[in-house]
């Protein structure tokens, strides 16, 4: 077990989540470990089905009933009061979890129209959240809500607060969701693809806003996206996931400029770049395997350009090793057999 570093706000170690399905047990997150520092942004990137959302929902214990967190999993969290909790080991009905959800760790989603109830106004829903966490009257709560709506750049917050989510445009809805997530000043904000459904112009506005608010409130952000370019704009550190496993992790510049893992390299090569519009796009071959047919060894070997030629990939799970090529950062790790082989060859 890794000891919790003094500075970490949140530390996930050996997190595994399994789903019970009719066809059998499905591993959604497999032995995942990462740490989040206060005021920093961790970007989690990967294709759909890579376990990005499931692993962050586990942090708030918001998983469905058919999901189980494996007993060896730990999620250490230091509360605002300074207490240490192990979220993974707590009872799902534990009272402290209610304080945690929304109060300490808040979440925003891709689809704000699904996150807000169409039956209640934006104000109703924000005020309910505030009163759950704080002993304030309705009038005071409403004032807090309006202030926050104003802060996230809603025009006419006094008017908007009494509107329903469906009356707002996509960008305004996303702002309303950010406001309701941040009104309790959480220490951690989990942003699950918050800009994927938005136009690029609005995406740029929302990314700017999140960075501003992070500066102002000092919160840590976990930013989930399938788009490495968006991650590169907002993250300090990056975690690349595939089929529930960590493939590569490290500071953002090191990952983008010196990707070590063939999967990360594949993700980068597949991005259509404006600087190179005549170059053909390079897809990652094949599709993500069904979670019921999880590949043995390195989970990526079935789609890896080197996987077929390298026998250990099919049989043993690679451990993360430090990147040594180029100017890669010392904290930059990748779980790939090829790196180990390369490093051994260099030593000989």
């Amino acid at each position: 077990m890794i000891l919790m570093a003094e500075s970490s706000l949140l530390m996930v170690s050996n997190l595994s989540v399994r789903f019970r399905t009719d066809e059998g047990l499905v591993t959604a997150v497999d032995d995942l470990s990462f740490a989040l520092q206060p005021g920093q942004t961790l970007g989690i990137v990967g294709e759909s089905g890579s376990g990005k959302s499931v692993s962050t929902k586990a942090l708030m214990r918001l998983l469905p009933d058919y999901a189980a967190i494996a007993p060896e999993s730990h999620i250490y969290y230091q509360t605002k009061k300074g207490d240490y909790l192990d979220i993974a080991q707590m009872d799902a009905n534990h009272k402290a979890l209610n304080q945690l959800r929304g109060g300490e760790i808040a979440m925003i989603f891709q689809e704000p129209s699904a996150a807000f109830s169409p039956l209640y106004t934006i104000g109703n829903q924000m005020i309910e959240g505030i009163q759950l966490h704080r002993q304030v009257g309705r009038r005071q709560a409403r004032k807090l809500a309006i202030e926050m709506l104003d802060r996230v750049g809603m025009t006419n917050p006094e008017l908007r607060i009494d509107q329903h989510a469906f009356e707002l445009s996509g960008g305004m809805r996303q702002r309303a969701m950010i406001a309701s997530a941040l009104v309790m000043r959480p220490a951690v904000l989990i942003a699950d693809e918050p800009t994927t459904a938005l136009d690029v112009t609005i995406q740029a506005q929302i990314l700017d806003l999140l960075q501003e608010l992070q500066q102002e409130f000092g919160m840590a952000i976990i930013f989930i996206s399938h788009d490495l370019a968006v991650i590169s704009q907002i993250a300090d550190d990056v975690l690349v996931m595939y089929l529930g496993k960590e493939m590569e992790t490290g500071p953002v510049r090191s990952i983008i400029r010196h990707p070590q893992h063939p999967y990360t390299q594949g993700l980068i090569n597949a991005i259509p770049r404006l600087e190179a519009i005549d170059q053909p796009l390079v897809p990652i071959p094949g599709d993500i395997p069904s979670p019921l047919e999880r590949p043995t060894g390195c989970v990526f070997h079935t789609r890896c350009p080197h996987g077929a030629a390298h026998p250990p990939c099919r049989t043993s799970v690679p451990d993360p090793v430090a990147a040594t090529t180029g100017d890669a950062h010392p904290n930059h790790l990748a779980a790939c057999h090829l790196l180990v082989t390369e490093q051994l060859e260099k030593m000989v």
Partner: protein, 343 residues
Amino acid sequence: MTQPIVSVRNLKVHYPIGGGFLKGKPQILKAVDGVSFEIYPGQILGLVGESGSGKTTVGRALLQATPITSGSVTLQVADTTLQVGQLRGDRLNILRRHGQMIFQDPYGSLSPRMTVRDIIAEPLEAMNLTQTREETNRRVCDVAEKCRLNLEHLRRFPHAFSGGQRQRIAIARALVSNPSFLVADEAVAALDVSIQASVLNLLKDLQQDMNLAFLFISHDLSVIAHFCDVVAVMYLGEIVEIAPTHQLFARPAHPYTQALLSAIPPLDPDAPRDRVRLSGEIPSPVTPPSGCRFHTRCPVAQPICPSQKPKWGQIGDRHEAACHLVESEALASHSSDGQGVEA
């Protein structure tokens, strides 16, 4: 030069909203408000703009999937000239056979109750394009193979497939009638980048094999840049700039195009960028701004912009933009030529 396969002249699509019995006159939503362009055989025209700009409506109007308010859409297929909008019976069948559509969401566009074979075969059966079941099967297998689908997949139902595979099924269905013109509406927007690249490559291969013309609708300029020959930029129901892809990305002339381009996040976090941040959102198409419709968000708006509609200005070969600044620049460079102006 060859004849265009699609020519659109001053197309307008207006929808009445609200109104009705005792509610008085409905308001008019101007989804598409005077759009003109041509697509030549084998050419890919990209249509880009924010949501609400009217891209999808243009695509639907081209295939008579929405009523046209005014203007004309002419399709030149199989030696017949079709005036889209009023087609009925046999002539509508010709349009359906030669103009097909690929949708954004392969989870919504494929019936969960049909096998993949039946999904792909349906257009052939609906339009009576084959005589026997064997012939249908043969054409389904041919097109499935072209779209890199496994033949054993044909007996399965869509739920067994991933997003990328589903989109390939949707492409096979669109191509089975041997069309010459396709509307792809955000066809790769719902896919992961890694899969998006493979679907785009497949579409490009098929396009070259079958000499297909495309209207490729996307909100993603980098996808457009990689896939299209010509790009038209739409804002609030109007085209504001049109140019061959290379020209548009090398010299974007309209402030809206420039803003869209600069909003794309670069991969490198330290990449230098001149950011033109657009404030606000696209205004309502029910009450579009006067003059140049972009003036409410334009970072370089002039006093003339709210009052007068800009004319088209020529920037380069086949590169035009509707902006007062472009117009005055063109005038300035013209008069500074000095010679032969008054002659």
